[in-house]
């Protein structure tokens, strides 16, 4: 069974199509990176899969469960990280992580040791018990990452993970993504950072103005576009005339 199947997904905001007819299948152990310029429709796509937006047309199936028919069951497989790291101001990082664990009903006996381990890896220990209103953007992102890893979903949806992270944390985060993939999880990551895509993606999508212009792996991409450098390919594809037939 496919982990994620998207059929003819479309989304209209106030009579403007933000996403046009998206089709996609993802399996275990894949990292799909969705590339596109600002306003391309990346956040819209991720929010649709996370159940935060209602599709205008089309269907989304997670582990064989239709998101619109049984949203609660379908959502139990996913973990979503928004582009803007919002945390309740008046909770501490630890309280937020525990809040999430309580909602997902995480019950493993080694919860505390695992949390301590993750706090160490993400380097959030020194301030995790302070109110999150004093956190910076990157600090909040790390707490949200920690929360995600604590409830350990099968399908991970991450919107622009590298914005606001320092180089060290950004490296840690990439290592975590690869480790998750090796554990058989599926990752769906949006970004406009090309090097990141080249480094970890097993599958790449390029989206512009709500339309998926390309989907495939790195080799396919350079073969179709006839260019070696991902930057050139990207610029060519996100150019309005450069539509590539699959």
């Amino acid at each position: 069974m496919n982990r994620l199947v998207i059929k003819n997904l479309r989304k209209k905001f106030n009579n403007v199509w933000a996403l046009e007819s998206l089709n996609l299948e993802l399996n275990q152990g894949e990292i799909f990176v969705l590339l596109g310029p600002n306003g391309a429709g990346k956040t819209t796509t991720l929010k649709l899969i996370a159940g935060l937006l209602r599709p205008t047309e089309g269907e989304i199936t997670i582990e064989g469960i239709d998101l619109s028919e049984d949203p609660i069951k379908a959502k139990s497989f996913i973990g979503y990280v928004p582009d803007e790291p919002f945390i309740y101001n008046k909770l501490t990082g630890r309280e937020f992580i525990n809040f999430v664990a309580g909602i997902y009903n995480v019950r493993n006996p080694d919860y505390e040791t695992r949390l301590a381990e993750l706090m160490d890896i993400l380097d959030i220990g020194p301030w995790i018990d302070e109110l999150s209103e004093s956190y910076s953007h990157g600090m909040k992102q790390r707490v949200i990452m920690c929360q995600l890893l604590m409830h350990n979903p099968d399908l991970v949806l991450i919107d622009e993970p590298l914005v606001g992270l320092d180089p060290k944390t950004s490296k840690t985060v990439r290592e975590i993504f690869v480790k998750l993939k090796d554990e058989g999880k599926t990752l769906f990551i949006s970004t406009h950072t090309l090097s990141f895509a080249r480094e970890i993606a097993t599958k790449i999508g390029i989206i512009n103005r709500g339309e998926l212009k390309f989907i495939g792996d790195m080799e396919e991409l350079s073969r179709i576009s006839g260019k070696k450098d991902i930057e050139d390919i990207y610029l060519k594809l996100s150019d309005d005339n450069g539509i590539v037939q699959r």
């Binding site: 935060l52 008046k90 302070e130």
Partner: protein, 551 residues
């Protein structure tokens, strides 16, 4: 400096206009409709009451003047209170400030812009009562046309004094006691205002406090009519009421008092401006440092809970107790209510006849229901909007909005029922109502509490404000007004439905009329059906709306 001020203000105005434009037509219309209903309703009541008073022989007109003066005095204290409560967040705790202070504009311009914002925000609710009051007064006393513009200008000038005092008070407090957090600052200011008001009344007009010792209705009326001025000559409310009264005869008195009010307002503004010039920037900086103070927190979410409902509840509680504007305002409300309940015991005016006692008990029930409606709009309506920081998580997690709302419903219901029943039972104990009423009212109270919680939670989900952090601003928004109106309409409708059986009960008990069983049963059945509808429907609407919303 004026240019900077204009710039800041026009940016504000643009934001406001954008917000108005983004309102859907239905919401805008219902907002205007609600306000209009409220103002017209208040106007109608004032006209009736004033008309009645004008016809009371000899003392009537004097009594009306006292009433107006008393109302203006209470407005003044209310304005001081609401300005103090909102000042802290407007002047020191809003996100926009970081941006404003980074601009090349003098801090005094920021201060003036914020003062205007705070004044409008803290006063508009009082104004919706004050306008119909002064207009009804003008109509009933046959004031000349010039009365209307002048009285409205006067009341707007009048609004500025409490705003300026509150901002100066808070700036000084933060400046001399920089280690205090917001909740302490607000508490100290409120305590100062209350204490000073009490002292002022005690020294200036000790007769006023005797009001609690009057024996019966007649002596109360006489007492009120004999008081020269309620607040004393040094209080702006006296000047304002002299202005309003001046149109009936002594025009020179109106002119004198208007000038007095105008110059005192100007001086207050000037003094607060100078205080702001001296300490606003420093006070603002010191609150920033204070909030960065590293505190390690331990709470009942220090370890994960094994139950989603408990987790939501604990999170809500933590956020509530850590947000001073929330529990400070709740405490103020509750203290005022306790004072009210005890004043029922201390004023024995009405309590000679059982009939009067029962009528007072019904009036008290209506009053408590309205208070609960207000509490609901202020504290329950914003709860869903306050999820804004976590809405991305809740929406993508395997947690249904149904469950989130049910947890919130049950918790708020328990709180509301406790407040309602404690107030009802203790008030009825002090009023010494009969056994039947004493036992029946708490049951009706249960339905009222359950409906009011549902109306406010449901409409809070239907009309959430996901871009506002401040709960009192969420409650004061258009959705909050709709919820307020619905709550009041519910209480009003319930009273109308229950009036017939209540009247039948009274005439049976005190005038030996026969019991009309059909009327009593039909009335209660209708009430139960109506309440069931108002319990179920708003919650359903709220849940559906959240499930269908794009976040």
């Amino acid at each position: 400096m004026i240019r900077d001020l204009v710039l800041i203000l026009s940016a504000r105005a643009k934001m406001f206009l954008a917000a108005v434009k983004s309102l859907s037509a239905i919401r805008a219309v219902s907002f205007v409709f609600v306000i209009a209903c409220f103002v017209l309703g208040a106007y109608y009541i004032f006209i009736r009451v004033f008309g009645y008073l004008m016809n009371v022989e000899v003392i009537g007109p004097g009594l009306l003047d006292r009433l107006i003066e008393m109302a203006l005095f209470v407005f003044f204290i209310m304005l001081l209170f609401s300005n103090v409560i909102t000042s802290f967040s407007t002047f020191y705790n809003s996100r926009e400030l970081d941006f404003l202070f980074s601009l090349p504009v003098p801090p005094t311009s920021i201060y003036l812009a914020k003062l205007l914002e705070n004044c409008l925000y803290a006063s508009w609710a009082t104004l919706t009562i004050a306008f119909p009051l002064i207009i009804a007064y003008g109509v009933k006393t046959g004031a000349p046309p010039v009365y209307y513009p002048l009285s409205i200008v006067s009341i707007i000038i009048y609004m500025v004094i409490p705003a300026a005092i509150a901002s100066a008070l808070i700036a000084i407090l933060i400046r001399i006691l920089p280690r205090l957090g917001p909740r302490e600052v607000i508490m100290i200011s409120l305590a100062l205002i209350l204490g000073l008001t009490y002292l002022y009344v005690k020294v200036n007009n000790p007769g006023l406090l005797k009001i609690f010792e009057t024996e019966n209705e007649q002596s109360l009326l006489l007492f009120a009519a004999q008081l020269t001025t309620v607040g004393g000559v040094y209080i702006p409310s006296t000047w304002l009421s002299n202005i309003l009264r001046g149109f009936k005869g002594a025009a020179s008195s109106a002119t004198f008092n208007f000038l007095l009010l105008f110059f005192v307002t100007l001086s207050t503004l000037l003094i607060s401006f100078i205080i702001a010039k001296v300490c606003y920037v420093r006070s603002w900086l010191s609150t920033g440092e204070h909030s960065n103070k590293k505190v390690r927190r331990k709470s009942f979410l220090y370890h994960p809970q094994r139950n989603a409902a408990k987790t939501i509840l604990f999170k809500d509680l933590l956020i509530f107790v850590r947000e001073p504007t929330q529990w400070v305002q709740l405490s103020v409300f509750l203290i005022l209510l306790v004072v009210y309940i005890f004043s029922l015991r201390r004023t024995p005016i009405y309590f000679f006849f059982p009939l009067w006692r029962t009528i007072v008990a019904f009036a008290n029930f209506a009053y408590i229901s309205f208070v609960l409606a207000t509490l609901g709009v202020r504290f329950i309506f914003p709860t869903v909007s306050l999820e804004r920081a976590g809405i991305w998580f809740i929406g993508s997690s395997p947690l249904s909005f149904r469950k989130v709302l049910l947890v919130k419903y049950i918790f708020n219901l328990i709180t509301a029922v406790i407040i309602m029943e404690v107030l009802l039972l203790s008030a009825n104990l002090f009023i010494k109502v009969g056994r039947g009423v004493y036992l029946l009212m708490p049951v009706i109270g249960l339905f009222v509490a359950a409906s009011l919680v549902s109306i406010n939670l449901g409409l809070g989900s239907r009309f959430p404000h996901f871009n506002e952090d401040n709960p009192s601003r969420i409650a004061a928004g258009s959705g909050g007004i709709i919820a307020a109106l619905m709550s009041i309409a519910y209480v009003g409708a319930s009273i109308v439905i229950l009036a017939a059986p209540a009247y039948n009960y009274l005439s049976h008990k005190f005038m030996d009329m026969p019991v009309n069983h059909l009327l009593v049963y039909a009335g209660f059945t209708l009430f139960v059906l109506f309440s069931t509808f108002t319990i179920v429907m708003p919650l359903r609407i709220g849940i559906r709306s959240l499930e269908r919303r794009d976040f």
